[in-house]
């Protein structure tokens, strides 16, 4: 029973992580982790990153007919 509960919890966590990635909810966390690894320059703030990401996304075809 406990095993089943753990499996269910794991499946839900995976689903939640996937949903956050798919929707863009965790994009800033991904960016921060990358910036941390590379340490090339000061990372953008959450707001700066959000606006920058949208400007990039919507400057090329990203929705089909």
């Amino acid at each position: 029973m406990q095993n089943l509960r753990q499996q269910f919890k794991l499946a839900f966590e995976n689903f939640w992580r996937g949903l956050r990635q798919w929707s863009g909810d965790s994009a800033y966390e991904t960016y921060l982790a990358c910036a941390e690894r590379q340490r090339s320059q000061k990372p953008l703030s959450a707001t700066e990153f959000y606006v920058d990401q949208l400007n990039r996304k919507y400057s090329r075809p990203n929705r089909c007919c």
């Binding site: 996937g18 949903l19 929707s23 960016y31 990358c34 919507y58 090329r60 075809p61 990203n62 089909c64």
Partner: protein
């Protein structure tokens, strides 16, 4: 151990043989069934089994023999990981991203329109077209782009075919964008015309999107899930509230708009969405649309499986002869032009060479994402076909035919359509309109209202019965219109960038993306271009869809042909001559249908098909003095528009011919060894990640 392997292998063979047999029986049933209605379950089985087999066998063959996908090779996402554009992404998440990007209104509207031929031609084209053409295009272009650091289709055409090829690809993208935006806007206009409930609901999504935009920008930056949840709840509330508006004499009057007014409102919206900051209106609307799209498509699939409706449309209608009321033209080539998305869509190649190749973790994932996501889109198309064909054929034709063909009153439409052999009474249309909360459902060409009726009937059979039919209908209209507007605003903005980029070559300041006069001018130009075609469609006496949808289909298939020319050229350079038919055959098919459809649309003597013959016929009536004085200006404008449509079609056909000549010269040079093939692939770099999956 070896025995276990043998049993496993035998079991696999047995399972796949069973899938093949079931698929063959289901396909045979829908192909040869005559007389009585057929259950929709056969469609689901035929499609699902065909897709499973195509994925298991054909995509595996392409992955192994043609492309030789290499999981030891680092992808652009690994080599250039920057947390912004190049982001290694889980394959299931990327599948969701890619599917959300490629699945627009096309696979819903195209099959609905093509249902006028009966369910069979469209269904077979959806299944076979996806397996052998659409999925191949998406998969191969994704692979080519991964091997070139995520280059776009235009860049690959320039590098691998010729400079002129690159320019043609760019021009094709801009042209298709203009026609696409006009035609999808026309679908929305026809769905909202004279419907205060639907107009109110859609209008309210603008303040909701603005609210979300401000929330996401200033209060909780980037917290998309919570904002979308709030937005979806508000949108569902306004769908219900729309009924109160429709019941209020004053508010109903305010939100009851004609076609021309709606067209100008949508043009103004497109301009605002393009010129305003992207975080304010465009992005939050896109978030709303993505969630509602996923929910509605899932619900439609579940509804069809639960309700298992009877398909009432015959396999073939009398309109296979080209005299169809929805659009004129025979099955060949017009069925293959009408259903683009769902079978093969050139626009997908822009997505496959856009964001996806920059996010893919391993080359091996390209098969699942490129080929698999397109199979799923094709399945959406089959479900739309089922929803359209599940309604009485008479009702389908009454909703989708223009008034100039069937008449403007329920009685007149019923008499005409019954005369075609599809029984209908005026009372049926009146009571159906009443049941879905509309004043009328007649003459709503465009596919959206008939699809909404089909969806509402399926949903209400699952939840709520007839009592909720009107709510389900308006939910379906809102869902279609919402994600059409998302295509419209995102497309307008991309078109604006393209014009600024092209303008920047002539006059430098125009190329500065944050220069306000440049933004306003380029937004006005792109909106003016598609707005002109939209207006032309709205005032067209044949309903607009008859001329604009084939034009869109030709443009979209032209872009697919461009993508397959690029893919074939790259495969030749990779010395894959033995397997070149994988891309060459669908390319040849697309060139044949694009050229035939273009020729017929320009030169056909049938005035309902040929732009020039219709223009000449009108000009002759004008010259003979048979046109009322009040209508002379309108007629002159229609003649000009028809000649413009003919010119646009000719330009599209000329573009593909020029590209073909360029590619043939390149292929001949490679095959005759006059030229050493130069590939623009990025050099091999071994992956640093552990081998997994």
């Amino acid at each position: 151990m070896a025995e276990r392997e043998t049993v496993k292998r035998l079991l696999q063979i047995l399972i796949w043989t069973a899938v093949a047999a079931l698929g063959a029986v289901a396909l045979g049933t829908i192909a040869f069934h005559r007389g009585e209605p057929i259950n929709a379950t056969w469609f689901v089985l035929a499609a699902a089994c065909s897709y499973l087999l195509a994925y298991r066998l054909y995509s595996a063959f392409i992955a192994a023999r043609l492309l030789a996908l290499d999981n030891t090779r680092a992808t652009p996402a690994e080599r250039r990981d920057d947390g912004r554009d190049f982001v290694p992404t889980n394959k299931w998440v990327l599948f969701g991203h890619h599917f959300a990007a490629i699945a627009g209104p096309g696979p819903l509207v195209g099959p609905t329109l093509a249902a006028q031929f009966g369910y069979l031609p469209g269904t077979l084209w959806l299944i076979a077209g996806a397996a052998f053409a659409g999925c191949v295009q998406d998969f191969v272009i994704l692979f080519c782009s991964i091997r070139r650091d995520g280059k776009t289709l235009g860049e690959m055409a320039r590098d691998e075919v010729s400079k002129r090829g690159g320019l043609i690809a760019q021009l094709a993208v801009l042209t298709i964008m203009i026609i696409l935006l006009a035609v999808v806007a026309l679908v929305v206009v026809n769905a909202l015309k004279s419907s205060p409930w639907a107009t109110f609901t859609l209008a309210m999504t603008i303040p909701i999107a603005l609210l979300l935009g401000v929330y996401l920008r200033y209060f909780r930056p980037g917290r998309v899930l919570e904002a979308s949840l709030l937005g979806v709840a508000l949108v569902l509330f306004v769908v219900v509230a729309g009924q109160w508006v429709a019941d209020s004499p004053y508010l109903a009057k305010v939100f009851t708009l004609g076609g021309v007014t709606l067209a100008f409102a949508i043009i103004a919206y497109g301009f605002a969405a393009s010129a305003l900051p992207v975080w304010l209106l465009l992005a939050p609307r896109d978030y709303l649309s993505a969630f509602i799209k996923a929910g509605a498509i899932f619900s439609l699939a579940a509804g069809i499986l639960l309700v298992r409706p009877q398909v009432l449309m015959p396999p073939l209608t009398r309109f296979v002869d080209g005299s169809g009321p929805v659009f004129a033209g025979k099955i060949f080539p017009f069925c293959f032009i009408t259903i683009a998305c769902g079978a093969i869509s050139g626009f997908h190649s822009l997505i496959s060479s856009g964001t996806t190749p920059k996010m893919i973790q391993r080359e091996g994932h390209a098969r699942f994402i490129g080929y698999g996501a397109m199979l799923l889109e094709s399945f959406v198309g089959v479900m739309a076909m089922v929803a359209a064909c599940a309604m009485t054929p008479g009702v389908y034709f009454a909703i989708n035919s223009p008034a100039s063909i069937v008449g403007a009153t329920p009685e007149a439409a019923a008499a005409t359509i019954s005369g075609w052999g599809y029984p209908l009474t005026g009372g049926t249309m009146t009571s159906l309109a009443h049941a879905v909360g509309e004043q009328t459902l007649l003459n709503r060409a465009g596919g959206a209202p008939s699809l909404a009726v089909g969806m509402a009937q399926i949903f209400s059979s699952t939840i709520g019965g007839d009592r909720l039919l009107s709510i389900w209908y308006h939910f379906a209209i809102m869902f279609e219109a919402l994600f059409i507007l998302t295509v419209l605003d995102a497309g307008t903005r991309v078109g604006r960038f393209m014009i600024q980029e092209l303008g920047g070559r002539v006059w430098k300041p125009m190329g500065r993306m944050n220069w306000m006069p440049g933004i306003v001018l380029s937004s006005a130009l792109i909106v003016g271009a598609w707005g002109y075609f939209l207006y032309q469609g709205v005032v067209d006496p044949l309903g607009g869809i008859n001329s604009l949808w084939p034009l869109f289909g030709i443009a979209n298939q032209l872009l697919a042909a461009v993508a397959l020319v690029v893919a074939t050229t790259i495969l030749l350079k990779m010395a894959k001559l033995k397997w070149i038919w994988v891309t060459l055959l669908p390319m040849a098919w697309l060139v044949i249908i694009t050229m035939t459809a273009s020729f017929e649309k320009i030169f056909s003597a049938n005035t309902r098909i040929g732009f020039l013959s219709q223009a000449n016929s009108m000009a002759a009536q004008l010259a003979a003095g048979n046109v009322a004085t009040a209508k002379i200006a309108d007629t002159q404008r229609l003649i000009f528009n028809l000649r413009l449509d003919a010119a646009v079609t000719a330009i599209l056909a000329a573009m593909i011919l020029v590209l073909l000549v360029e590619a043939l010269a390149q292929w001949f040079a490679i095959l005759s060894r006059r030229k050493q093939p130069v590939m623009q692939e990025t050099p091999y770099v071994a992956t640093q990640w552990a081998e997994a999956d």
